[in-house]
């Protein structure tokens, strides 16, 4: 009786909810698997789900050093969008957004996916030009992005009272990205974990990979963990900010650096903003959760960091810029702030790739990768199962570094 529905909820209410099964099973750690996925974050768990669902590969272990879903998937500002700039990235993110739309049904789990649009507030002409370029390029790939005037912007976001004609940086226009959505971030991890587990994959929490093991011929053989050696035919490193920490144990160095990116929430208030508001010229973005708190994000910390914390300078900048556009929020209160460890590739574009070590795969460089969880898992599963990059993920292989052929999908839009 594990299926979720209004009916099963009512049925279980009769027994005071004493009989719900576990979301994921606790089983002993085996000696060997077909595939080991390191990291039970969004991408790792989604990969396990799609390996089972699309490729029938279920002898899979997801190894997680902490509690599943406790990495960046627990910490992000939940913006899902596909309004990227480059032809290389657009098909991937369009795919991811479309997978998100059907995900609650696919996983039989309410992720509270809410397609509520994102509005970019534009305050300078160079940004306007860049954003129009996104609009026209996005159209080619089925990602919609349409201009609205300032009056319409203010009608849709009444709380946005700053940026008037006399302000330091008047608003000159806005763009609506209709496909943008938010969704319960923890739910994505739990939904994928539950589905992967029900399809046969194992999830081992509190199992930290200490190093990668290579066979005599250099190929990958398995991993060393705090719970002993585990062997596997194929290993995928899907650990966001800790990627280099793991790959370097096998002598593999990657063009990524780790950063702390932080976010914060206000006290919960009654519905106030029902779209995602992104202010690229000022460098702040926000949305309001179903519980009422405003979820607000800014820039990453300067300098590498493995903290999950808030740097005062960066935080202050996000607050002051938010108040430029939402001056009434001066009296709104900060409730909590936190951070996460992300890795950013040299060209700011993700990496889903086979590595120089045969049968070792990485998926990293996801500094705006919550939106990418479905497509990231989908395409990594494809790569692991078939040995070939999925068509929408071909620009993201490590090959591009061999010729410095960067994609340069930098964070021209602030929202992750």
């Amino acid at each position: 009786m594990g299926k979720f529905s209004a009916f099963t909820l009512a049925w279980n209410a009769l027994s005071h909810h004493q009989n719900w099964p576990r979301y994921w099973q606790n089983v002993p750690l085996a000696k060997k698997y077909d595939v080991i996925i390191i990291g039970a974050g969004g991408h790792g768990l989604a990969t396990a789900h799609y390996l089972a669902k699309n490729h029938d590969i279920t002898n899979v272990a997801v190894l997680e050093k902490g509690w599943l879903g406790g990495g960046n998937i627990a910490r992000n500002t939940v913006t899902i969008r596909s309004n990227y700039l480059r032809d290389e990235s657009l098909p991937f993110f369009v795919k991811s957004v479309s997978l998100f739309e059907g995900l609650a049904k696919d996983l039989n789990f309410n992720l509270m996916y809410s397609k509520r649009s994102m509005i970019d507030v534009i305050q300078t002409y160079p940004k306007m030009r860049e954003i129009r370029r996104r609009m026209m390029n996005g159209y080619l790939h089925g990602s919609s992005y349409n201009p609205i005037n300032v009056a319409e912007l203010r009608r849709r976001v009444p709380a946005l009272t700053g940026g008037g004609p006399k302000s330091r940086l008047p608003i000159i226009g806005a763009m609506v990205h209709k496909e943008a959505a938010v969704c319960r971030h923890d739910g994505v991890a739990w939904g994928y974990a539950r589905s992967a587990s029900r399809r046969g994959a194992e999830i081992h929490q509190h199992t930290e990979v200490k190093s990668l093991l290579r066979a005599a011929d250099g190929t990958i053989k398995g991993v060393e963990t705090n719970r002993g050696t585990v062997l596997a035919d194929k290993v995928a490193v899907v650990v966001s900010g800790h990627t280099t920490t793991i790959t370097e144990t096998a002598g593999l160095r990657l063009p990524v650096k780790s950063f702390n990116l932080a976010a914060f929430v206000s006290e919960p208030v009654k519905p106030l903003v029902d779209v995602i508001v992104n202010c690229p010229d000022l460098g702040v973005y926000l949305n309001q959760s179903d519980k009422g708190e405003l979820v607000i994000g800014g820039a990453p910390d300067p300098g590498q960091s493995f903290r999950r914390d808030m740097k005062q300078t960066v935080f202050e900048d996000a607050v002051v810029t938010m108040l430029e556009l939402f001056p009434a929020f001066r009296r709104l209160k900060l409730l909590r702030q936190w951070g996460g460890v992300l890795d950013i590739a040299h060209d700011a574009t993700p990496i889903i790739s086979q590595t120089d070590i045969p049968r070792l795969f990485v998926s990293c460089g996801w500094w705006g990768g919550f939106k990418a969880v479905p497509a990231g898992g989908y395409t990594l599963a494809h790569l692991i199962a078939t040995g070939q990059p999925h068509e929408v993920a071909t620009p993201f292989t490590l090959d591009r570094f061999r010729h410095l052929d960067f994609v340069v999908e930098s964070g021209t839009t602030t929202a992750r």
Binding site: S5, W20, M136, Y139, P271, R330, R331, L404
Partner: protein, 980 residues
């Protein structure tokens, strides 16, 4: 409304001479100066003050400070803002407040119907339903129900918030007995001290107690210390100030709520000291039994504070339920205040109860537990139960709980200090510090004040001595008797049944059942339980409930609370206004802006001003009455092409570069050669990043041997400066090169057009300006219009140009002289929109248009600028590697679009056959050309140079526009005009 039914006639620390009227839920009440909203409401007999978050159960005040989980109010009027704990709202004239989260009132709340569906709403129920047809359909109504208070909608003027930095030797947080003692010692030692306390007056929990110190009321002792501290100018004492964040390098973030200056509403302090002393006290936790959330159920410490500090008795007949000795102090206080106590229910075995009960003639129910509280909108009775399950009913209208004390370790933990579980205290205490911080008093887990004081003196003393201060011994105050704490943890009462509403997080309506369900479903770490049930995620951040969650998880899984561990303590310690974080930073202090000496003139001419990068504002165009933007641009552009125009080029980045190795340095920076440049001449150069992408472009003049005058684009001047200093200081430290930014030392008026020279003649100059004597790309110094000037012959328009650089002190005069001299020739000021047209006609590149972070000089057809002899120039190697792959590149081309005179949006993609597929290039710039009298464009196109003459298709969403590919220059390709 003057009689407050529950206020004692005497006692307390309120100011009875100053009654204050206030409004709550539309009714007017009276309290006193010194009250909080909560104490005033209780004094007026208002118990039902709120409805709960999920089930809309009736709720009242439970605590007396930041820990308050339940009585949240929304402030109305001038200071409108939501979600304030009524226990932290000071009563002030004009205060208006209402309950949050209920409609129409807490007494009659429509959504209280949720209580009857509560069975359907266990933790995480929403993950299991609302999936058909989709969540978005349900979302609106669910969101409306959530969210507590409405958001503030009135604005506080910016300057009313302020932030400032503070530096000193010691910061003490908490002005309870231990904090005061520490601050006093630090002050006497000569240190510069800040002491921060969250209450309006110092004293900490002494204000809530009837303690005697040195034979007098404790507050006399407090007053003496306060007086001493205030007399020392090196001491900053902040009351009503919350230290909410502990950052790196021993910095505390503090919000002072009501600074004495009346022009400041709140002040944020960024205070940093060599040592921080945390004397933050402890926070009481509640106990878990059925209906433990009824109005009238309160923390024992809160009851004590109401009785002693505010002279309010929140009930007439009390029951005290405890698992430790601290609540007996309340029993004694109630006894001496003459309040009826129906009984002390003590879950500890009789043998564990000691001297604390002496002198109390009231029923003591040892080894008993409260099973349930009765009553709806106010508690009416409790059922208690002994260890054999025998139950008794006690009538009461007040139930005071003490589930034990949690040291306030929040700031310590934020400082990255570790915590340890102390089984004797049944709580988490500071363990290893990671910054220069010590904890004293209850915050350190010392629950016995006599010991705490002795320890505080010793710890403070060595902390000060470590910093080199001399510390005199302080007399230890003599205290009235104190009992030992002696807690026996009780994480929940025995015999609870499924479905009992035993709340563990009062604010988020999380019950013990919810914790059980989460654990059964596999959420077995404390972090999972938190996120699945939302326990501890409310405005109070679970200050009274979190350790109970941990205790119950430990019990259910046969672990110790230490093994379960805590969730992360995050800032802020308690919510603070965003305004107090931003302070005065708004408008230009967030986004400073820069003026040239000509800005005022430009604005007076009606220029439409644009942000021009690097914080400069520049005119875009100068429309005359009734003119469209395009007409204005055309008029200005024609002036330059056929007459003369002038623009204010002052924001261009300018650097004076000199020194023994200056020439080598310039050669390293630019891809082309500068070594053969003659003195007095300049050269255009492109600077690459080490990635091989274009970083900047500009002209550099050689003023003398090893002395250069470099100009950069406006927007990148700062970046270029940083880049140059990096190379010099990091890569080439042995080189002798000196760079001085002189952007603001030189203003420039660029006169351009076929009649430019005539203007200069009219101005009068000492320089021979003939084309032979003063060729293109030369620089001359001399007098222009009686002012010293540096003239450069560069051209970004394709016409003859003279850049007249003068010092800003002369700039306005020079500008006026130019306008005067040029008037007969029809000179026009031109804006950046016009410059854009002129440069597109010439095919000159612009950063941000053609250069979008992916192009190199070859792509732009500027291979000539990549010197063959300078392979070591910055970025060169990367360009070569990229090109070796042979992958086709997007190349700069011109476009003649077939658009019926309409401009094509810049950025429009070019697609194969105009199909809706991935692009093969894009339009980087598109203008109406005054020389071609048609729309022209520049673009980057895959293999573009090989496709000149072909037709391509530009795709603006639905629309497809044909265009012919041309060379990227539409005007005077040989450059005769600019050399003329």
């Amino acid at each position: 409304m003057t009689s407050s039914p529950l206020r004692f006639q005497t006692g307390g620390h309120i100011n009875r001479d100053k009654p204050i009227e206030f409004e709550f839920n539309g009714k007017i009440y009276t309290g006193f100066d010194g009250d909080t909203l909560a104490s005033a409401l209780l004094a007026n007999g208002i118990f039902l003050t709120a409805r709960s978050f999920k089930y809309h159960r009736p709720r009242g005040v439970m605590g007396a400070g930041v820990e308050e989980p339940s009585c949240l109010v929304e402030l109305l009027g001038v200071h409108a803002a939501g979600n304030h704990a009524a226990t932290k709202v000071e009563l002030r004239t004009g205060l208006r407040a209402k309950s949050v989260n209920c409609w129409p009132s807490p007494n009659f709340d429509l959504l209280s119907i949720n209580q009857f569906f509560s069975r359907l709403l266990p933790a995480g129920f929403y993950y299991k339903t609302f999936m058909w047809p989709n969540w978005h359909l349900f979302e609106t109504s669910i969101r409306r129900a959530a969210g507590l208070a409405a958001a503030p909608d009135e604005r506080i003027p910016d300057h009313r918030y302020e932030t400032r930095w503070w530096y000193g030797d010691v910061i003490v947080v908490g002005a309870g007995p231990c904090g005061l003692l520490a601050a006093m010692m630090a002050s006497r030692s000569g240190a510069r001290v800040m002491i921060v306390d969250d209450h309006r007056e110092a004293g900490g929990h002494l204000r809530a107690s009837r303690m005697i110190i040195n034979g007098n009321p404790a507050l006399d002792w407090v007053a003496a210390i306060v007086e001493e501290l205030d007399a020392n100018p090196e001491v900053t004492r902040l009351q009503d100030a919350i230290a909410w964040g502990y950052r790196e390098s021993n910095q505390l973030m503090i919000t002072e709520r009501n600074p004495l200056e009346d022009h400041v509403f709140q002040r944020g302090w960024k205070a940093r000291a060599n040592r921080v002393i945390l004397a933050t006290g402890a926070i009481e936790r509640n106990l878990i039994f059925a209906n433990n959330d009824r109005p009238g159920v309160m923390l024992a410490s809160a009851v004590q504070r109401y009785a002693n500090e505010y002279a309010v008795m929140p009930g007439r007949r009390a029951v005290i339920f405890t698992n430790n000795s601290s609540a007996y102090e309340l029993a004694h206080d109630l006894r001496s205040l003459g309040i009826d106590v129906a009984g002390i229910v003590d879950s500890r075995p009789s043998s564990a109860i000691g001297v604390e009960q002496q002198g109390l003639d009231m029923p003591l129910f040892a080894e008993h537990q409260v099973m349930t509280a009765h009553g709806g909108k106010k508690v009416q009775a409790v059922t208690i139960r002994d260890k054999n399950g025998v139950t008794t009913r006690l009538n009461c209208d007040l139930l005071a709980l003490s589930g034990g004390w949690n040291p306030a370790v929040h700031l310590f933990s934020q400082s990255r200090g570790t915590l340890a579980y102390d089984a004797d205290l049944a709580s988490f205490v500071p363990d290893k510090p990671s910054q220069q911080v010590i904890c004293v008093g209850a915050a350190a887990g010392q629950m016995n004040l006599a010991f705490a004081i002795v320890e505080t003196a010793a710890l403070t003393s060595s902390c000060l001595q470590n910093q080199g201060f001399t510390v005199a011994a302080v007399a230890t105050p003599e205290l009235s008797t104190i009992t030992d704490y002696n807690i026996h943890p009780l994480w929940k009462v025995d015999g609870l049944r499924p479905g009992d509403k035993a709340f563990i997080d009062i604010q988020n309506d999380v019950t013990l059942d919810d914790i059980g369900l989460a654990m059964r479903e596999g959420f077995d770490t404390v972090e999972h339980v938190k996120r699945y049930t939302t326990a501890g995620m409310g405005i109070d951040q679970g200050k009274i409930g979190n350790v109970n969650v941990i205790g119950n998880m430990a019990e259910a899984s046969n672990k110790t609370p230490g093994e379960i561990g805590t969730t992360t303590f995050r800032s802020p310690f308690t919510p603070v206004d965003f305004g107090s974080i931003a302070g005065q930073r708004s408008g230009e202090v967030v986004l400073p802006f820069r003026h040239t000496p000509i800005t005022k003139w430009n604005k007076a001419q009606g220029a439409v001003m644009y942000e021009a990068g690097a914080r400069w504002q520049r005119p875009g165009y100068f429309p005359v009455a009734g003119e469209t933007m395009q007409n204005a641009i055309n008029r200005e552009a024609e002036a330059v092409r056929y007459g003369v125009g002038v623009y204010d080029g002052s924001p261009l980045g300018k650097f004076d570069i000199s020194g023994r190795d200056a020439a080598a340095f310039i050669d390293l920076l630019y891809t082309n050669d500068f070594s053969d440049l003659e003195i007095g001449m300049g050269r255009y150069g492109i600077m690459l990043s080490e990635d091989g992408m274009i970083l900047d472009d500009g002209v550099t003049f050689k003023l003398a041997e090893n002395h250069y005058f470099m100009s950069t684009s406006t927007g990148y001047a700062d970046l270029v400066f940083r880049h140059m200093e990096y190379i010099l200081q990091v890569e080439r430290p042995s080189w002798q090169v000196w760079i001085t930014p002189i952007t603001s030392q030189w203003c420039n008026a660029t006169i351009c057009g076929p009649k430019a020279r005539d203007v200069l003649v009219a101005l009068g100059t000492s320089v021979d300006i003939s084309a032979e004597a003063f060729p293109f790309m030369a620089l001359r110094e001399g007098i222009v219009a009686d002012m010293p000037a540096r003239i450069c012959r560069v051209s970004f328009t394709g016409e003859v140009s003279f850049e007249i650089n003068v010092w800003p002190r002369h700039a306005e005069a020079m500008w006026h002289r130019i306008m005067e001299a040029g008037a007969p020739l029809g000179i026009l000021p031109i804006g950046s929109e016009t410059s854009h047209v002129l440069r597109v006609e010439k095919g000159f590149l612009s950063l941000g248009h053609e250069v979008d972070g992916t192009v190199d000089p070859f792509d732009l057809g500027m291979g000539w600028i990549m010197s063959r002899t300078k392979m070591h120039a910055i970025g060169r190697r990367s360009v070569d590697i990229r090109r070796e792959s042979g992958k086709p590149r997007r190349e700069l081309i011109g476009l003649l679009p077939d658009s019926n005179g309409e401009l094509i949006p810049e950025g429009a993609p070019i697609t194969p056959n105009g199909d809706r597929v991935a692009s093969e290039g894009f339009v980087s710039a598109c203008v109406w050309s005054v020389v071609k009298q048609r729309v022209i464009a520049l673009g980057l196109l895959l293999n573009g140079r090989a496709r000149i003459g072909q037709t391509v298709f530009i795709r603006d969403r639905e629309k497809t526009i044909k265009a012919i590919v041309t060379k990227p220059c539409f005007h005077d390709p040989q450059g005769h005009r600019l050399r003329g």
